[in-house]
């Protein structure tokens, strides 16, 4: 098994015998862009406009029109933000964590209150974030957040407050690593990104004595930084030690390690998307992902949640819900919704993954236990899951991308009493559905291909002589998810309040 991407990069050679690292594309070496990103305050510059947009959204959520299609908070949160997140992750990297606006108030607060506590050891895992991830998905359906300006605004404010409180009380990036559900989504999604923060020359790290990339740059003894500490430049707050870091999991692209490295030995390298999902072994700050059940559950929620979230937008879900209501006699929404969530996020994955693992164990005659095999292959679900998110969020974004123009024009008109941005052009929409649909299918196909490649890699490592035997069950599972996703996408959309007419 490959120990680390960096190690591998250092020994892999091209067909011409040159070290691969010499030909790797480093975004930080691009003229202007690279110089900007290497500038210590570049992240702040990116965060400020996003924060301003966030404040406008909050204002519009509470004091703007309470009609969802005319409200910037609802539109930008549930159409543009979600769509851009998945597209940017696919095409570039985890840039939304890089430009995260929730971190700016936290940075200001930390100038006043230094966090004193370490994040509790019992919570140093993904369970809390998984719970919040499921809660957001559940609240989205239960409260019809996509059509509710006030609750969308409340969600944004809660997010700011939670980030502020957690990171004011606890050291390092506790909120990002252990709490933030958006962050976990981005971490998993960015395993499919084409770039990765990585070291340039591993040998340089071998000779490094200071390890500034993880501990930070300390000022001379007689100097204190403007915030009163002796740290001039912090190192990685997510505990990712660059020489042992593998892939993008838990990486917020904050580039603190780049600024801290005294040898200018860290870059933003192009790489093969999803390749890291096939890698096992110890990862700095994470341990062995393939042995962590919390990561398995996170991946399951990520993948099956994508199907559930899309399923909730088509008419068959209402039939299923009405059936559940009639069978149980319930006329309140939440227990029926909870049953639906339990079925899709717990029961269905347990059956499917369990069956795949049992079959794999039988076919490969491996000694690994069924839970261990599930943990091992769970990573292969990420590409197909991300493909479904891409198809779903991409649909909303592409078909409605231009609607932000008239909504912003209308907001300016109502706020200032005159058409500051022009008269609202309500006829603006987006790309026709007939064009977007093939894109949706294409995204899901890409996801299937990615999942198959990852599963093949894992199966080969598990049983080199019986790779097909190890792959078959998981490849079939991916195909089943693919068919389910395509079936959902070809259903006519019915955007209704979920359950019993909302």
């Amino acid at each position: 098994m490959i120990a680390s991407a960096q190690r591998r990069r250092s020994v892999t050679t091209t067909s011409l015998g040159q070290p691969l690292r010499d030909t790797s594309f480093d975004v930080l070496r691009i003229p202007l862009l690279g110089r900007f990103l290497r500038w210590r305050w570049s992240r702040t510059v990116l965060q400020i406009p996003v924060l301003l947009v966030g404040l406008i959204m909050i204002g519009h959520a509470f004091w703007g029109p309470q009609l969802a299609p005319k409200n910037l908070a609802v539109l930008l949160t549930w159409v543009h933000f979600r769509g851009l997140v998945v597209l940017v992750i696919l095409l570039a990297g985890n840039l939304f964590c890089m430009a995260c606006p929730f971190m700016l108030p936290r940075e200001l607060a930390r100038r006043l209150f230094k966090p004193k506590w370490e994040w509790p050891a019992a919570l140093r895992n993904k369970w809390l974030a998984i719970s919040l991830f499921v809660s957001v998905l559940f609240a989205y359906e239960l409260f019809d957040l996509w059509s509710n300006s006030w609750w969308t605004g409340a969600l944004i404010v809660s997010y700011f407050a939670a980030a502020l409180v957690v990171d004011t009380l606890f050291r390092r990036a506790s909120f990002c690593k252990y709490v933030c559900p958006i962050g976990q989504f981005n971490f998993l999604g960015s395993t499919l990104s084409p770039v990765e923060v990585a070291v340039r020359e591993p040998e340089t790290c071998d000779r490094c004595q200071t390890r500034d990339c993880i501990v930070g740059v300390r000022a001379p003894a007689d100097f204190k930084a403007s915030d009163g500490t002796a740290i001039e430049q912090r190192g990685c707050e997510l505990s990712l030690f660059q020489p042992r870091k593998v892939g993008n999991l838990d990486c917020t692209f904050c580039l603190d390690c780049v600024y801290a490295c005294p040898h200018d030995n860290i870059g933003l390298f192009a790489r093969l998307p999803a390749e890291e999902l096939g890698m096992g072994g110890n990862r700095s700050g994470l341990g062995r992902v393939e042995k962590r059940f919390d990561f398995t559950v996170l991946i399951v929620v990520f993948t099956f949640g994508a199907l559930l979230n899309a399923f909730a937008m088509i008419s068959p879900v209402y039939t299923a819900e009405q059936w559940l209501a009639s069978v149980t006699g319930l006329d309140v929404e939440w227990p029926i919704l909870a049953a639906l969530f339990a079925t899709v996020l717990i029961l269905e994955p347990a059956i499917l993954l369990g069956a795949a693992a049992v079959f794999t164990r039988w076919m490969t005659e491996t000694r690994q236990s069924v839970p261990a095999i599930i943990n091992l292959f769970a990573r292969s679900l990420v590409p197909i899951g991300f493909g479904v998110w891409l198809a779903h969020y991409g649909f909303h974004f592409f078909t409605g991308c231009l609607t932000v123009i008239p909504v912003a024009q209308n907001a300016a008109l109502q706020s200032f009493g005159w058409p500051l941005l022009g008269v609202p052009r309500w006829q603006l929409g987006g790309i026709p559905e007939s064009i977007v649909f093939p894109m949706e299918v294409g995204f899901i196909c890409l996801g299937l291909a990615g999942s198959w490649m990852v599963a093949w890699t894992i199966a080969r490592d598990l049983s080199p002589m019986r790779t097909w035997a190890g792959f078959t069950a998981w490849g079939t599972l991916h195909l089943l998810l693919f068919v389910s996703a395509v079936w959902i996408m070809i259903q006519p959309m019915e955007m209704r309040g979920t359950l019993l007419g909302g």
Binding site: A68, P69, T399, T403, V407, P492, M493, E494, M495, G501
Partner: protein, 147 residues
């Protein structure tokens, strides 16, 4: 075909000329076109009535004929008004649809609403009387069916 009754109030009637008093969502309430929500629904604002008929009913994706009858508190038809409908989905990110209704008899207006997607919609109805008064109303249209 089903009739739905929405009642509003007259606070939104403005004085003639430049004094344009807008009735803020006076017709709040649901016109429910599905079987679950059939029948008249009355809002707290009782003085303006909008009576809607759809064909087909409940409405489906595509062009749906709408007939609307506007009356004041005394039941007098609101004749000669210019009536415009703006339809939006509850979900953000969808282009709104528009329809101008023509008066077919005093106080009764008809036209075609082109629903572009199944799901929950709401209609913003604007009626401008010959005197220049404007009445706005919001009507929920839940559960437009996909074909």
């Amino acid at each position: 075909m089903r009739d739905e009754l929405i009642r509003g109030d007259t606070n939104g009637w403005s004085a003639p000329g430049s004094m344009r008093l807008r009735a803020k969502w006076l017709a709040v309430g649901a016109v429910v076109l599905s079987s679950v929500h059939c029948g008249p629904i009355e809002s707290a604002a009782p003085d303006i009535a909008i009576e809607l008929r759809w064909e087909p009913s409940p409405p489906v994706v595509g062009n749906v004929d709408v007939s609307m009858r506007l009356t004041d508190a005394k039941g007098t038809p609101l004749a000669g008004a210019e009536v415009r409908i703006e339809g939006n989905m509850n979900h953000a990110g969808m282009k709104p649809i528009f329809a101008d209704l023509a008066e077919v008899e005093p106080g009764r207006y008809s036209g075609t609403v082109p629903f572009t997607m199944g799901g929950d919609w709401f209609l913003l109805v604007t009626a401008t009387t010959p005197e220049g008064n404007t009445v706005d109303g919001k009507i929920d249209v839940l559960g437009v069916r996909s074909r």
